[in-house]
Structures are given as C-alpha cells and as structure tokens.
C-alpha cells in the first residue's frame, strides 16, 4: 500500500484551522458565561434602581453611612492586627530554618485558607465565647461575667485568625527570596542582627508589605460570614451583611440596591488602589526549602523569636482545637441519623461537585483560549488579559453582590428560591475559577510549549489532541483545581444565605440555622464535619498539585 504525500483528505486543512478556532471559541464561551453571570447581576441592580430612583437615593441615610464606616473601620483594624504581627512571625520563622516543627507550623498556617469561614467563626466562639473554654478564665480575669465576643472584637479575632497565617506565609516567601549570596556577603561584612534586618530583611518585607496589606484589607472588606455570625447585631454590621438583611428580612430592594452600589464602588476603589501596588488578588504562597543562613542569632534573640512563633501558633491552633473539641462533644451519631442533616449533606455534596466541575471546565477553556490566542501572531492584548490574569478580577465582585443582583432581577420572573441550586453552583464556580486557573494554566502552557509544533505537524487536533496529548499532563492540575473548587463551594455561606430555604439547604446553611436557634452543640458537630471534609479536599488538592510539579 503506497501512500501519496498529498493530504489524505481535504478535511485536514479544515481540521487544523477548526481546532485553533475551537480553543479560542472555548475561551470566549467561558468569558461570555462569566460576563453573563456578572452582567445579569448588574442588570438586576440597574433595573431595580432605575425603577425606584427616589427610594434608592433615600436609602443613602445615616444608617448606610454608619454601615459603610464600620465596614472600612473593621477592615483597617483587621489588616493592622494581622499584618503587623505577621512581619515578626515571618522574620522569626525565616531566621530559624531549623526551628523544631517549623514545617508543621507552616502547614498549619495554610489550614485557615482551607477552612470555611463559618467553621472558624464557631471555633472562635467555642474558645472565647461566653460559654467558651476561655469564658470562665476571662470572667475571673475581668472580674464579673465575661460578656462574650460578639461584635467588633469577635470579628477582629476571626479575621486575624484567617489573615495572620496568610500574611506570615507571604512575608516568609518574600524573605526566602533574598539570595543566599547576600547572606554570605552580610556575614563576611560582619553585619549584626540589627544591620542584617535593616539592609536585607526590611527591604524585602517593605516591598511585599503593600501587596499583602492590600490583599488582607480586600478580604476583610468583603468578609460576609464572619460578620454575620460574630457581628452580633446592627451595631457591627458591614455592607455585605446589610445587603443580606435588606433582602432577606426587611425586604427593602431600594436599600439593597444602594448598599450594593456602595459595596461595588468601595471594592472597585480598593482594587484600583491594589492594582497600582501590584498586589496579587489570588494570594497564596508557595514556600521553597528554607535556605541556609549564615548569621547566628544571640540567645536572647532566639528566645524572643521562639516566643513570637509559639504565640502565633497558639492563636492559630486555638480555634481549630476548640472546633474539634466542641465538635466531638456533640452527639455526632444522632446528627448523622437526622433527616435534615442527611439531606443538607447530600445537597452540599451534589452542588459542590457540580460547581467544581464547572470551575474546572471554565478554567480549562480559559487556559486553552488564552494559549491559542497567544500563538497567533496577531496580538489581542485585551482578550489575552481577560482570559489570563484579568480573571482574578471576578474576586472583587463579592458573591453576595452577584446573588443580590440576580435575586432582584428574578423575583419578578419566578420563585427566586427555586433557582438556589443554579446560583450556588455558578457563583461558586466562578469564584473558584481564578484559583483553578492558577493550577491549570501553567500546566497547559508548558504542555503546549512542548507539543504545539509536533501536534500541528502530525495533524493531531481537537478531541484527539485533548484526550491523547493534553489530558495526561492536565489530569493532576485539573484534579487539584477540582478539589479546591469543591472545598470552596462546600464551605460557602454567601449565596446560599440569600437563596436558601427549607427546601434547599446546604450544610453551612443548616449550621447557621442551628446557631440561630441556639442548638450550639449541633452546630459544633456540623462544623467539625464540614471542616474535616474541606480540609481533606484541600490536602488532596495540594498533594496532587505538588506531585504534578515534580513530574
């Protein structure tokens, strides 16, 4: 059988060009989906606001100003209390690469990233609340009944619990980026600890500081669950919680519109500021092996560093341990037998699976689209940005805002509570997408770097290419993305708080309901369950991601 060298059939030509277009099309479809989700929400807000301009304007009252002021005030305080200590903790950890348990501490500091906010809130309550483990101790210290931790103090403690470890890891990354040769030079020049801090460590930290502080501030401005569960009343309410209350309790759409617009304006301002500082919105530290250090600390310095690390460790580990202890005291067997718990668990798992699947598909489509766009000689910087680093900007639109917009838009058309599953799945998928993209995009780009010309030469395209060439390299990063997105979606209380009802309940929603009806033990048990599942998922994601990097 002889083979002629002319193309075996004409479809080859079309095959190649179609496959190029298909990848771009997939990317554009993903973008369109995200744009629809966000655009629809903004449309809902716009229509509502335009229909009742007077009402929306009237909603800009002293209450709203107070809420906005409190939003900024608690975020600023949280940032200060998280970032400032983190500088010292990071420096202490960087100076003692052989501190006993250092690796364990760093892993523990990654846990809050994986923990659903409502679980952390319960942990804080179990520890510092009026009936908490420290309640008695704090009462006797203060002389009189410990008033509990609801309000600003509770919000601050929880925010610091989340953001101190994050900031520490980011600062540590900056410190470990100082080249080893500079340390060698410093020791040769006979620099003291103080001088080394001034000339080596502080410049590195100062460079990272605006970005880290900006990221933490952003996270605290858009924090919903913590404020809802620990705020404890209208005195400590942020814009997001006020949006939720306006829609779910007062049913005051005009106020909701005013609050949402303010929230959008606020986050936009913060983001514009952050972008100028060059902050990374998806903030996550990857820590290389600690380099050898050449400057030895004095005994006093070492003791001080050790104390700083232990204090931070106690602060971060405390609520986690309290969550476990309180959860184990709950009647877990009875809980597991309850119909409501079972239904909520099933709902949560199904919605999280769908959401994770959607997040994986979205991120893969965006990665393929961006790569295909970049391979074309004609540059399209706007599209490349939108499918690449621009995707992080969806994080600045809080889920509550998207939810509120759709809530307002759809309440005229249908039963808003009926679309709860769709909203939970789509919003959480889009929120997880930037993180998923972080795992998928480098893997896809690397594979394409190696295989692009070979595939073009051999005519491997479309589905064949995806299954034969790309899939083996993408399996791990996609699994990472999937597990992470699932954890994020499982623990979310933003969208479901708006759309949840007796018919559609997720675990966090059920947890909130049990807290509301003072069934604290039930809540603690559910929190333990939720925390363990989310942590396991993130561990899986992390493990897969790491092995993917080694391969």
């Amino acid at each position: 059988m002889s083979r002629s060298y002319v193309p075996r059939n004409g479809s080859y030509v079309a095959g190649i060009s179609r496959s190029r277009d298909a990848r771009v099309t997939a990317g554009l479809a993903a973008l369109a989906f995200i744009a629809t989700l966000i655009g629809g929400a903004l449309l809902g807000l716009g229509v509502e606001g335009a229909g009742n301009i007077a009402g929306a304007l009237a909603a800009f009252d002293p209450y709203l100003v107070r809420v906005a002021r409190f939003t900024l005030w608690q975020a600023a305080l949280s940032t200060l209390l998280s970032v400032l200590p983190a500088l010292f903790v990071a420096r202490a950890l960087a100076r003692h690469p052989r501190f006993p348990g250092r690796g364990f501490i760093l892993q523990l500091f990654a846990v809050p990233l994986a923990l659903p906010a409502i679980v952390a809130a319960l942990g804080v309550l179990a520890l510092y609340g009026r009936a908490g483990y420290f309640g008695g101790l704090l009462s006797s210290l203060g002389g009189g009944q410990w008033p509990g931790i609801y309000g600003l103090s509770g919000i601050l403690v929880a925010h610091v619990f989340f953001n101190l470890p994050l900031a520490t890891r980011l600062f540590l990354e900056a410190l470990q980026a100082i080249p080893g040769d500079q340390w060698r030079l410093a020791s040769q020049l006979g620099m003291s600890n103080v001088a080394a801090f001034r000339f080596l460590e502080w410049p590195a930290l100062r460079q990272a500081l605006p970005g880290v502080a900006g990221l933490v501030f952003m996270l605290c401005v858009t924090s919903f669950t913590i404020v809802l569960t620990l705020g404890g009343g209208p005195a400590a309410s942020t814009l997001e919680v006020a949006i939720y209350q306006a829609l779910r309790f007062d049913f005051d759409p005009a106020r909701a519109v005013a609050l949402t617009l303010l929230q959008v304006a606020l986050t936009a301002a913060v983001v514009a500021f952050l972008a100028r500082l060059g902050a990374d919105m998806t903030g996550d530290a990857s820590l290389p092996v600690a380099p050898r250090r050449f400057i030895t600390s004095s005994a006093a310095g070492t003791a001080l560093d050790g104390m700083v690390i232990l204090l931070a460790l106690a602060f971060v580990a405390g609520p986690m341990l309290a969550t476990v202890a309180a959860g184990l005291r709950a009647d877990l067997l009875r809980l597991a037998g309850e119909e409501a718990v079972r239904r909520a668990t099933l709902t949560s798992v199904v919605l999280a699976l769908l959401s994770a699947l959607l997040a994986a598909v979205l991120s893969l489509s965006l990665a393929m689209g961006r790569r295909a766009l970049m391979l074309e000689r004609r540059r399209r910087p706007v599209l490349e940005f939108l499918t690449g680093s621009g995707t992080s900007f969806v994080l600045v639109i809080p889920p509550i805002v998207i939810g509120a917009g759709w809530f307002l838009l759809l309440r005229h058309l249908s039963d808003v509570f009926a679309i709860a599953p769709v909203m939970v799945v789509t919003v959480n998928a889009v929120m997880a997408m930037p993180f998923a993209l972080r795992a998928v995009q480098p893997a896809y780009d690397a594979a394409s770097e190696r295989h692009e010309r070979l595939c073009a030469q051999l005519g491997i395209s479309g589905w064949t290419r995806l299954s034969l060439v790309d899939w083996p390299g993408l399996r791990r990063p996609l699994a990472t993305a999937f597990a992470f997105a699932m954890a994020l979606s499982l623990g979310d209380l933003g969208v479901i708080a708006l759309f949840g009802s007796d018919t559609v309940q997720t675990l966090p929603y059920l947890l909130l309901a049990r807290m509301g009806s003072y069934r604290t033990e039930d809540a603690a048990g559910l929190a333990l369950l939720l925390g363990v599942v989310c942590l396991a998922l993130v561990l899986v994601a992390d493990r897969l991601g790491r092995r993917g990097k080694e391969a």
Partner: protein, 255 residues
Amino acid sequence: MSEARTARGAAVQLETVTFGYGEVGFSFDVTFAAGKITAVMGPSGSGKSTLLNLVAGFETPASGRVRIGGKDVTEAPPAARPVSMVFQENNLFAHLTVEQNVGLGRSPSLRLSSGDRADIAAALARTGLAGKEGRLPRELSGGERQRVALSRVLVRRQPVLLLDEPFASLGPSLRTDMLDLLCALHAEQGMTVLFVTHQPADAKRVADDVVFLENGRVAVAGPASKFFDGSGPEAFQRYIGADSDRSQDFARKRT
C-alpha cells in the same frame, strides 16, 4: 519495506518569500533540489530555523509563495504539507510509548491497522530500536529518542524532511552514527532533506548542497564540494573560521 521507493523527493521552492516579526526582516528566494540533502548554514539569527518553519507551515509568509513539488502550499496548515520535521528536542510525547509515538506518524488519532503496526515495527528495527517498542521516552538515551523521531519520519514517508539541528545535543561519536543512519535512510527513501546545522563537519559528511544564510537572506548557495575545498565563498570561510577543523569535535547547543 518494499514500498519505500514510492516516496520520492520533491523540490522545495521559496519564491520571493518575505517574512518579519518585530524589527527582523527575512527575505528568501531559493530552490532546494529534489532528492538532495542540503545543509542550511549561517550564524545565529540569520534565519535558518525561520526558513524551515516557513516550509513546514509554522509561519506564514507576508508575501511570496512556498512550493513543494511544484504545488503551492503557502496557505496550507502544517499537517497538510508533504513534510516531516525533526526538532532538536521535544520530538516525542513523554507519556506515550515509543511505538505510539511512531504510530502518530501514521494516524494522528492512533487508529492503526495491522499493516501500520508492521510498518512501525519495521521502521523501529531499521533505526536499531527493535525490542524498545514499549519504552517511554524518559527510559531512552538522547540518541535513541532521535532515532524514534527518525522512525516516525520513515513511517510518514513524506517527500521532504526538515531537520532543525536534530543531533546538536548529542556527543561526537553518537552524532556520526546518526549522520550515517540519516544517509542510509536518505539512500532508501530518496527524500529531499533540509538540514540545519552549525557543524561544517556534519555538512561536509552528508550534504550534496549548501545554502548559506546571512542577515535573513541567502548569501551563497551551491554544491557542497565548492564550499569545503578551501576555495569557498568568503562569507562562508569567515563563518566557519580558521579553526573549523577543531570545532567539529564538540556539539553545539542551539543558540
């Protein structure tokens, strides 16, 4: 492989082809004779790889035509051109076996008939890889990997073979072996070979013709004998330098 004779070389023609990215401009007007091995030489950045990419279809000319065997392929995508190409590296998919990597040369979706499989086995035997069908690329040496790539060239049986410094990262004696293998395959299949190399010794060993590029243009072209008898064109002499006899012993990395 009795049907090997059916693959005859086709002339490769670049007709006033211009191409540019950024501030670099290329302009090629050259014909590569059918069935010959032509060494494409020239300093870094002179356009050797670009010329090959234009023939392979990875780049599209701004103007001019690319013809292979007289047929205009200027607009054709890479897979539709009667061309095989071997790169310096990344010729293999790391997660596929040797046999699968070669099989992709027959069917891009790996749907292989028993006849295809026999051809693949024959090609692997021909390149000295018999018994290594099930290995993964990482279990092979650098030289063996390039042999797999050459096996795929054999089963593709295209009339044009483009070699972009395929042996540059191999040691001297291994390189000589590979050049001999290339000559043997060329003798059997008679394809037109465009061979980019930095090594005058390689060119001298295998090439019928030499095309010498400078600043994105063909500076000189002619029979290899004219280049290596010491009376070659001045630009070429300058490029290979006085110590060309010594530099042949180490493999250069592509720059």
